[in-house]
Amino acid sequence: MVGVNPEEISAIIKEQLSGFKTEAELEEVGSVLQVGDGIARVYGLSKARAGELVQFENGVNAIVLNLEEDNVGVVLMGPSDDIKEGSTVRRTGQIASIQVGEEIVGRVVNTLGQAIDGKGAIGGELFDMPLERKAPGVIYRQPVNEPLQTGIKAIDAMIPIGRGQRELIIGDRQTGKTAIAIDTIINQKEFYEKGEPVYCIYVASGQKASTVAQVAKVLEDNGAMDYTVIVSASASDPAPLQFYAPFAGAAIGEYFRDTGRPALIVYDDLSKQAVAYREVSLLLKRPPGREAYPGDVFYLHSRLLERAAKVINNDEIAQNMNDLPESLKASGKVRGGGSLTALPIIETQAADVSAYIPTNVISITDGQIFLESNLFNAGIRPAINVGISVSRVGGSAQIKSMKKVSGTLKLDQAQYRELEAFAKFGSDLDAATLSVLEKGKRNVEILKQPQYSPLTVENQVAIIYLGTNGLLRDVPVDKVKEFEEEFLSALAQKHPDALSSFKAGKLDKEHLESVKTLAENIAKGYKA
């Protein structure tokens, strides 16, 4: 303690004391009947409401989940060590919420919003954002109309994601699901540097703590932590913290969404979250249903994902949004035009997408990105199966130039896959089939992309233009990557005006002509 003025201390104490009420109030209490496995049954609390926060003597909070005839079932949001039979539980009259402010950006927090990265408490002005909150109603929304650039060619060209959309990433273990999400977060750096950040939230629910640490390090190394929050409830945390972690993440996302800014949230992953919810439900003696999940597991995910939204671009209407938290409303910071894009992740077992949780989440989201281990092992990375991956609203959220260029790509690739089986018969194929096959092979090469290297949309437009227009036919398949690198660096040097016009959504003839000439010149060097 250096240079602390004793007068300052007494002034602070005085200030805190002045707000202190000494009057006792009539409280509603209950006593613990049974405690264990992260849940407690409490006798009394006859007026407690579902979802309400209650507090134990030792300061541990709990959430009321079950209301029964003569007791309530609560889930503990902390250790149960000091809680014994007969301990007193007090009602708080509030619903569970976490404190969010500008300074939460760049931090790693737990489900309760407490920093766990060792950098001290989160400062600045904080707002209470409820964990469970109703999604904005119809009149406070607008259709998705802006792209969320992932920086991954295969996604931005064929399965475009818009701001406010919910796009599922689904696949077996070790197929690169998290990698896609992380690449997307890293790609938002461009917007951060431009001063229009897309705030990112990475929610780890039931992940290994080492995986979370690794993700944090990758984001840090790529300069992505400046606009990212990590919410971590690792596998060793109590099940209630694990299943509430996505809700905490959504609450943080809503802070940005409702203050008029775009946000992106990754739920990694919802299958483990559903398992945590199943555990709690079974302990609370709720009847098990299919695969032993409780009956409301669909509602659990649908109400979570429904909070992803594009808010109407009108401050006045947005300020009247339903269920706005009081503290945020009073601050006058609510603006329209914000968005929350959700990328939930589901891990399948042996590519079984007809299991309970995958089918549920597929039906809730606005599209899905399928990742397959056989593609991954064949060296096609990201291992996206473009045939069955779709984006149900993304089409209107692509910039014009990309839309025009990639229009035929999906169809071309579908034809290619159909004819691929014939390719094994060798050369006795007609010229048309052969050209489809050759083009397809090169497009597959173009769509391959290494990890942590997202590409800007203008570069994507340029390279996909070459692919769909067959300008790579002279480049051998195994040299396509090499060609791409050379072409893109030459393009940036020689025709920056073409790139900026692509970025603006324009596809002028003269620019396309210069791109074409450049590509032909470089391709000559690769001709076998």
Partner: protein
């Protein structure tokens, strides 16, 4: 079925029948004496033991209590034992007392204070409680002393708590500063 619900149903049947037969006060006395007998841990453990057969339990019950109870309560206890619910007897007793008080319009209030109260103070508390409209027309006061409160008092009224103890205020103050 949960213990609470079983106890509620048995207690309610005894209460209703005793009201019908005008034996409410007698049943209350018997329940109270059984409850005080249940203060013996061995007896509770004996009744809760799943190994001992219910005939054995019934004969032990007869040996201990014999004809000490009135016929209504006696028949009730024997029925409970025959139905194999003797393990919930303590809860049934508590539940009966609770339902009895509800029926009679008596609120059970526990007052915990740091030091023992004198009779004048007790009377004052009673008058204040009756004036507060938070209780039924009659109150059944139960005074306890807990030095941990340091000063002041706590009033427990069902699942409501009025905490005016110094210990609670200090705790609130601690929370205020730790935020």
């Amino acid at each position: 079925m949960s213990v609470g619900r079983i106890a509620t149903r048995y207690a309610k049947s005894l209460l209703d029948l005793s009201i019908e037969q005008n034996q409410l006060e007698g049943a209350l006395q018997d329940i109270q004496s059984l409850k005080s007998a249940m203060g013996s841990k061995e007896l509770v453990q004996f009744f809760k033991s799943p190994i001992i057969k219910s005939e054995k339990k019934l004969s032990v019950y007869k040996a201990i209590f014999g004809d000490k109870f009135q016929s209504l309560a006696d028949r009730f206890f024997q029925l409970v034992i025959k139905k194999g619910r003797e393990d919930v007897l303590p809860e049934i007793c508590d539940e009966f007392l609770y339902q009895y008080k509800e029926y009679k319009g008596i609120s059970a209030v526990t007052i915990v204070s740091a030091t023992a109260m004198d009779d004048a103070a007790k009377e004052q508390v009673k008058q204040k409680l009756l004036a507060s409209n938070e209780t039924h027309a009659n109150v059944d006061l139960n005074f306890e002393v807990d030095e941990k409160l340091i000063g002041g008092f706590k009033i427990k009224l069902g699942d409501r708590l009025y905490d005016a103890s110094v210990a609670h205020k200090l705790e609130l103050l601690r929370k205020e500063f730790s935020n």
